[in-house]
Structures are given as C-alpha cells and as structure tokens.
Symmetry: D2
Subunit: 309 residues, 4 copies
C-alpha cells in the first residue's frame, strides 16, 4: 500500500499551484458563481482509512455524479428491464445531444448522458409522487455517505429548472416515443433536484465505496448490490462516465469514473479505494480540468490503473 496521505497532500499542493483551471460551468447561473480556485481530493479504502487533501469538506453540487446512484437505485427496482429504456454504449456525442435520440427511436445511448439519466429518473418515479421519489434518492445518498445531513441545494435546483430548456426538449422528445411514462414536469423536477444535491469530497468518496468493493459497503456494513452489478456499473462508468471525453479519461487515468459539471469526479479503483476529486473549472468536454489531472497523478503514484501496472 502506497503512503496515501503523502500522495494526496502532494497532489493537492501541486494542483493549488497550477494556473490552468478550466472554465466554471456557466449555463446554470448558480454554478457560475463558484470560486474556481478550490480543489479537494479524498481517497477512502475498505477499512475506512481516509486520505484527504485540500477542500475536502466543502460541499459542491454533485450534478451528473448523481447519475451513478440513480442508476444503482433503478437497477435495484426493476433489474435488467431498465435496459429496455436506455442503452449501454458510449454516445460519441456531447452530453446533451438530441441527434442520437432521433436516430435511435428515443432510446438514449447510456444512463450517463442527460437523456439517459432522465429516463432512469422516470423509472424511479414510476407510480410515485415526485416528492416521494426524491426522498428515496436522498435517503439512499445519506445512507451510502453515512451522513444524514446531506441535502438538496434548492437554489441550484430552481436555477436548473429555470434554464433547463434543453433537458425539457430531451424529456419531451423521449416522451413522444413512449420512453418516458410519467408527466414530463414530474420527471424533470426530480431530475433537476437530484442533480442539485450538495456533497463534499469526503461524503462522495464514502458513498462510492460499494462500487470499489464488489457491491459491499464496508462502512454501512452490508451489501448494496451484487458483485456482478458493481462490476457492470463500473464498466459503464469507464466507457460512458465522461461524456465525449470518456475515451480520454480511460486513456489517461485508467479508472472507472463519473464526472459532474459542478467539477466533481467520483472514481473507483476496484479492490483498492473509492476516490472523489473536486475542482470547479471544466475542460472542453465538460469534465473537471484539474480533477482529471489529479487523478492521473494519483494513478501514476499508486499503480492503480485497471489496465495494468
């Protein structure tokens, strides 16, 4: 086991010193106000040992990272029937593209592009009121993060709703093909809210432990999902977790991961650790610029790449 404390501290220091930070997401006004100078990194292992660096305890908007957890929830609810409504292939397109939907009859390519995550949210909502569905998602996050204080940032949720016309287009489009089944406003409401959950690096790394340890959550003390399902979610994160930068992330970092436009990335080193990095500035593909670089350093130091030592 490498000296994680030292490595994490070294990386946090190196990142703080860099002038290049990418651009903070501007399309959601609330997110545009975040200070681009922040950086946090947390690594947690099976024993709950934590190596933390930088702004590890500042909450940020998890945005698309929530899609990993809604996917987990929806699979728990309907199993493989979920795949009737969403595919498992990389999209080869930006995160909010609607072109692919037209070509493929309203079935989104994977659960990690916006359209796919909205379809997954619709499955979770099925037969419930938005408030109930949202409560279920939030309680799941609190349980996984072992922290009942986790909450939705209502200002961000409202901001997304006011400006979420493109997501509304995707949702209505899928509804026209019968892929969505609930009232579009309900589904979008739940979607905007679970993207607006605020969490810290520490909380997210904790929440991701079950993916690093074959579906078992060592701190929560019981099985969240089967080992096979954990592997499969990791596979989808590897191929689809960074939008149209997924190939690049696999090539440079070599870990399953999921990014959010809030600047967070949840990454999984199977059998070794759950990792969360955060830096609000994004690269051209919409993924955290320093976050990716930090993970690349971490993997180099630890030899944790899933593609070989």
């Amino acid at each position: 086991m490498p000296d994680l404390e030292a490595i994490v501290t070294e990386i946090a220091d190196a990142m703080r010193a860099r002038p290049d930070r990418g651009a903070v997401a501007s399309y959601i006004p609330e997110l545009a106000r975040v200070d681009a100078g922040q950086f946090g990194l947390v690594v947690i292992d099976r024993a709950g040992q934590v190596a933390a660096g930088g702004d590890a305890d500042i909450p940020f908007s998890i945005q698309s990272i929530s899609k990993v957890f809604t996917l987990t929830l929806a699979l728990g609810m309907v199993g493989d029937r979920l795949w009737r409504k969403v595919g498992r292939e990389p999209s080869g397109s930006p995160f909010n593209s609607i072109v692919q939907l037209e070509r493929e009859q309203g079935i989104p390519r994977n659960p990690f592009i916006n359209a796919g995550a909205i379809a997954v949210t619709d499955v979770i909502l099925s037969g419930h009121q938005p408030r109930e569905a949202l409560g279920e998602i939030l309680r799941f996050m609190q349980f996984l993060a072992q922290d009942s204080g986790i909450a939705i940032d209502e200002t961000v949720a409202a901001s997304e709703k006011r400006t979420g016309f493109r997501n509304a287009a995707l949702a209505n489009y899928m509804r026209s093909f019968g892929v969505l089944e609930n009232p579009v406003d309900y589904t979008l409401g739940v979607y905007f809210h679970h993207c607006a959950i605020a969490m810290t690096c520490r909380q997210l790394a904790t929440a991701g432990l079950y993916l690093a340890y074959s579906g078992q959550h060592p701190l929560a003390g019981h099985s969240v999902i089967s080992a096979e399902r954990a592997r499969r979610i990791n596979a989808i994160m590897l191929t689809c977790g960074h939008y149209d930068g997924s190939g690049e992330f696999a090539y440079r970092v070599g870990l399953p991961g999921k990014s959010g436009v809030g600047g967070g990335i949840l990454a999984v080193a199977p059998g070794r650790a759950s990792i969360c990095v955060w830096s609000p500035g994004l690269d051209a593909a919409g993924n955290s610029h320093l976050g990716r670089i930090a993970l690349e350093m971490l993997v180099k130091r630890t030899g944790w790449s899933i593609f070989g030592v």
Copy 2:
C-alpha cells in the same frame, strides 16, 4: 490461479454444443466461405503456460485485430504525434461510418474503426513502398507470435480489394482533408493486406502477451513498449475495441479486447493472461457471437474482470 486447462476445455465443449452461432461475415466473399461451426480458445500466461481448447491451431483471417498491432507499430514510429491524425474516443457509430468524419474534419474518432486504422496504416507507410511497410508489419507479427511462418492470405487480400469500395471512400475522404498523405491506393493496399494476415488462436494469444504484461513480452524476452503505452492501448481496446458493441463487451466481459470480422477476439487480462478466442459467426455489431459468450464465461470462472472481483 484457477485450473485454466479445465475451464478452457469446459468452455470449448459448451460452445460446441450451442446451436446459436451468429452469421459469418458476408461482405468479403472469401470470408463468407468459412465454416461457422468452428471454435477455438487459447489462454497464455507469463510463463508461457498454454491452455488451449477447440480449434486452437486453425488459422483464420485476423482482420481488425491487426489494428492493435499497427497501432503499436505506428506509436513506436511517431509517438504521440500519431494523435494529430486520429482520436481516442468511442465513435458511437458502426465500424465503417463516414458521417463522423464529415463532422470532425476528416479525423477519425479512434484507431480501431476502419477510418482510424487506415490513417494509422498511412503513418506506417510514410516514406516507404507498400511492400516494405507490409514487410515490416508482417515481421512484427511473426516476432510477437514467435512464429516466422505467419503469412498473408493473398486470396482474402485480393477479395477485400475488389470489394473494398467503402474503405476506398473513407480513405479518399480523409485524403481530401489532408489526413492521409500517401497515394490512396498504396495505403489501402497495405491496409487490405495486413487485415488479411492469417493466424491461429495460439499465435494471436502469444502475440498479445506484451499488452498483458506491461509492455514486456515474456517469451520474446524483451520490452516491446513502455508500461504506460501498454496500459493506454488496453484502455483504447476497452472503450473502442468492439465498434458499436464496445460498451456491451465492457459490460459483459470486462476485459480490454479487439475483435475482427473473421470471428477472432484478442483479449487481455492485465497481469494475468493473454487470450484469443475464435468463432466465425458474428452478432449484429460485427463481433464474434460465441467469442464474446466464451469470454464472459472465462471471466466469470477466473474472476479476471478489470472492474472488480
């Protein structure tokens, strides 16, 4: 270490018994004549220990599996400058799509779709006669497979050339953007010929050892590429190695791999083994139907998935 002999035999028997075999590739007349009933599987580890089942020593047309080796060669020749001419992202399209090229100024998405592999071949060709370039590729294959008897099936090469109008379209299209630099006929000639190399499962599994062992080829006795480059090629195989079925392969099998329309798949379990499976019948995405199922069984039995035990 699992009992590989037993596992490989069990899988070969199970595959032989299955009635579903997919459809043999029909667009190259020579390939269409292959007997769909064949199946071979070979697993080789660092020590050169071989577990072989089925038709392990019948040569077949390696087709797109050659792209892994031409990528390795081209990176050795020009290093990261290669990435000016080809990307590293999954394409989200069939293997011979030209749409993506129009959208992205003639730069193919990755080296494993046809357009990308043609661009890589053009780099290898640079400044040489087709015969020389082809000789270099063939000698590289013979060296990696430790078998100087490996040869090109000229009948297949001629068959591809006669019917390769779509590849000619891709090549001319890239040439119009300046991505190809050699005479189109030269580049296509070399491409058609290296796709027409005939190898057995045993030979291919041997040739892939350097990807399983950090760039070292344990049998050839020296370093082929750096450990980092081996990891990176594995990453590209994982995200792009099965055309528009790459996500599915990652989800079900969980190993880096590269398929060819001849029905072969080369797969890599980093640090554990190099694997080659062959069965000529293809699924809808153009990948070996039984090959994928056999690898799924192998990974289940061995716990070799890179996404967790």
Copy 3:
C-alpha cells in the same frame, strides 16, 4: 381560359373512383377519425369565379396550411427581422426532425417545418397574451376567407396538446438557444390552436387569393401584402411547402403549395387562380395522396405550371 367547371368535375369524379387513398394521419387521435373517402377541390380566379367539385364545403383541419398565413402575419409585424429566427432553405428532413436544429444552433431551416412555424408563432405572440395572439390569427383568416364563421376545433387543439410531445421538444430546444422568447407553453398553445382551425376548400381557396394576385385580395378589395412579398412567400411554398416531398411536388405539379396533415393542400397559380384540394389520406411524406394527384391533373389540363407550358 380553360373550362374550369368541367375540369374540376372531371377530376373530382376521377378521384372518387380511385381505390388508393393513402393513410389518414394517426398521430393526432382526432384526425385519425376522419373518413378517408372524402375529396374536395375548389378553384377561384381573380373575378371570384368559383369552380367547385366534391366535398368543397366540408370543413377540415387546416393544420400546417395555417403556416402560410402565420408567416404572412409575422412578416407584416416584424418584416425581414423575422429571418433572424428562421431560415428559407428546404430542410432535407422530415417535418418534425430535431437533428437540423442541433447542427444549426436552434434556427429552423424554414417557416414551414414544425420548428420554423413554432418560431413564427412565437414572433406573433410577442408581448401579447395567447388569447389575443390567437384572436388576431383567427380574424386574419376570417378576413382573408371572407367568412366570419371560421373557428378553431377545440377538440382537435386539445388532442394535439395532449400528444404534442415532439413539438414540445422542438420548442424547448429552440428556447434553449434563445430563438423562442415567450413561455414555451404559451407559444405551443397558440401553435396547436391555429393548426386546429377548421376550414372548407372554398374558404381556403378564397383565403389564398392574395398570393395568386401579387398581394392583392380581389374579393376583400384591398392589398394584403406587397407584390414582392407575395412572390417570396410563393417561392418558399415551392421549395419548402411539402416537407421532404417538396421536390416531388415541384416536379409533378409545378405550383407553389402548402400541405397539411389534415389532407388539405393550398396551391397558387400566379395570375391565374387560387386552388384548394382536400383528401385526408396521406402519402409517405405526410402530404395528401389524392390531393397531389388531383393537382397534377389540374395543371396538365390547364397548362398552369410555373415551369413552362
């Protein structure tokens, strides 16, 4: 001048006898109930002379034919500034495609595909309540048709609204680019309602007179638009009036025209007549099957093609 009475009667009889009728639009439930056996044809000249055949006085849902009149209205309100929000080129795509919008930054290709007509409606709405905007459109239609009894079929409007998810997708998508400026629900509400106006062939042919006569409406007794604007609207009808069947309509009929999925077609023979034909069965491109054939016969008999005698 040909004997229009005789020609129109002959065509109506010929159409009644044909077994091929196309398929009634099914995506709006209310429209699906219409009897496919109906056929009407009305030709009106400058003097108000009417030649009518078949079901000339049965009201039908004008649907996309309304787009000609909302375009006329919007041009009257904002002039050429309208073209900042919508193009004037044929789309090369089905009427409800969203792909083109993604490629061209939310600007619809022309005012006669759904997206374009929604953008035009948004311009008409600007600064008004939906009820007011709709009133203005309806009064314009009543004035042009010289019939104050023309009304909206509220059942059809409600049916469209309930099932109009694809149009909602288009509208939200354009809103995300800032092409729409009013609340999406307002714009869609007005759009669904003006598509649901019910008119007879006689009323529509009367309403179209200003396009046949250089912007002058001979029956209403004054100028509706300039001669140049009339020519230009006719040009857009010729190139874009029949969705992805516009080339075919120009090739076979040779008159500017606009079709609706209710089965109506308004056609203009400049300087000669305004024409409306109606038959609810549609061809594959969504245009009235017998309507097109009837117009082809009419043009053959009269020599009215704009492309030469």
Copy 4:
C-alpha cells in the same frame, strides 16, 4: 417586352462598379487563378435576339452547370429509370456532403449535388468507354450551343482529378451500395472532364434555350426533349440548382437556375428567355455572388419571376 439591351447594359455597369465580389473557388487550383473582376451577362429569346453585357464572350469553366445537360442526356437514354439511382429532393446539405448518402443507402438526393451528378454520369457511361461517353456529352453541348468550337479545358480537368479526393470518396461510397456500376475511375474521369468544359455566357445561354421553350430549341430548329420533361428539369433546377442556397435563390430571383463554382449561372425564364450570367467570386454557399445579384435585378426590371408579377 422590356428593353433588354438597356437593362442588360445597366446591370453589367452596376456590377462592374461593385466592390463586393465574393471569393473565387480555391479548391481547384486552376480555378483559383481566374480574375475575380470579370462579369458577363447574356439574355436570348425565342427569336434568337441577344442582349449581351460585359464579358459575354470570355470562356469560363462551366463546372456544375454541365449537370443540367448530363441530366438531360441521361433522361434521354434511360428515361424515368434514372430515378432509381438518384432522388429529386433538395438535400439540405452542402454540395459535397456524404452524410446524406449514408442515411439513404447510397442514393444521392438529387442530380445537382456532386454525388447525384456522378451517378448520372455513371448512367451515361454505361457500356461505353470514357472517351466515347465524353465525346457524346461534348457533341451534345456543341449542338445545343450551336458552336462546334466548344472544348474541354484539359488543364482544369487534370487539376480536378489531382485534387478530387472528396468526389472519389462519394463515388466509391455509392459504388459500395451498387449505385455506380462502372469502374470508379472511368466514371470520375468523365465527370471531371464534363465539369471542365469551357463556354462563354453567349454559348451557355444558347444551350439553355430548350428549357425556356418547352423542350424546343428555336435556333437548332427541332425538339430536344418533351415539354413535360423541360418543365420537370426546370422544377429540379428551382428546388436544387444552387446547393444549400437553392431556397435563397428562389426567394430572391424566382427563376429556375443552375450555378457552377466557376462562377456561372444558367437561368431560365419559361416562355421568355434563356439567361447566362458569370462572375467568378462566390458566396458562402458556393454560388456566384454578383451573378445572383445581377439576376435579381434582371427579374425586377423584367417582371419575369415565375412566382408572380
């Protein structure tokens, strides 16, 4: 009848004075050398009366204008069977797009985009040697223009061949779908050569007379095609004659026309005149910038728009 001499002179003078000239086509080196300051305009009526202004007798490369004549020839050879290989709808894409071909199984949208014209050339070639087919095309042009001195500019043809990779891509692509039937090099050779025919405005306006006069060529003294076929070719020119600027040309000029990247436009005022304008500078859609403006002026002065007076 307006005083054409005066109008044509006025327009030629006005065009000469304008500073805006567009950009000369650069992708064919030979064309890039042409002086952008040139302008010619010729109008010919049924009686052979000619109004000529500017550089009416300087030969230029007719380029895509040749597609009108090869379409006429091919229809004469195989009739409506031609439409199995090429459509009649506007493409909604640039002149050399390959995307549409992928979506529509290798069938080009219309005979006036490059792919369509190559398919038409392949039909003319059928069963002949390239030299024979080219001879036939050239003799047809000489006959229509009543001038046996018309010739191919071999320097331009060779220049196109050397740089015609995109057209080679289109041709190979269609060949892969079986839409082309001759050796790709043969078809492209004939295509490049007929695009390289050099003609003057006077010659082209003479050659177009049969389209203005119902298929009769008043000077050649006999029928070239039927009146119906002339109307239909005019219709295709109107909807597809200016690539992705066809809607704009119809909107502003209101005449069937076909442009070439050499800067020429052949336009037809049915029953009134055949017109050719030439100015080498192009607009963004690849059509002659001053040519379009000159035709707009001409139509305003003469009232010849087919969309109304």
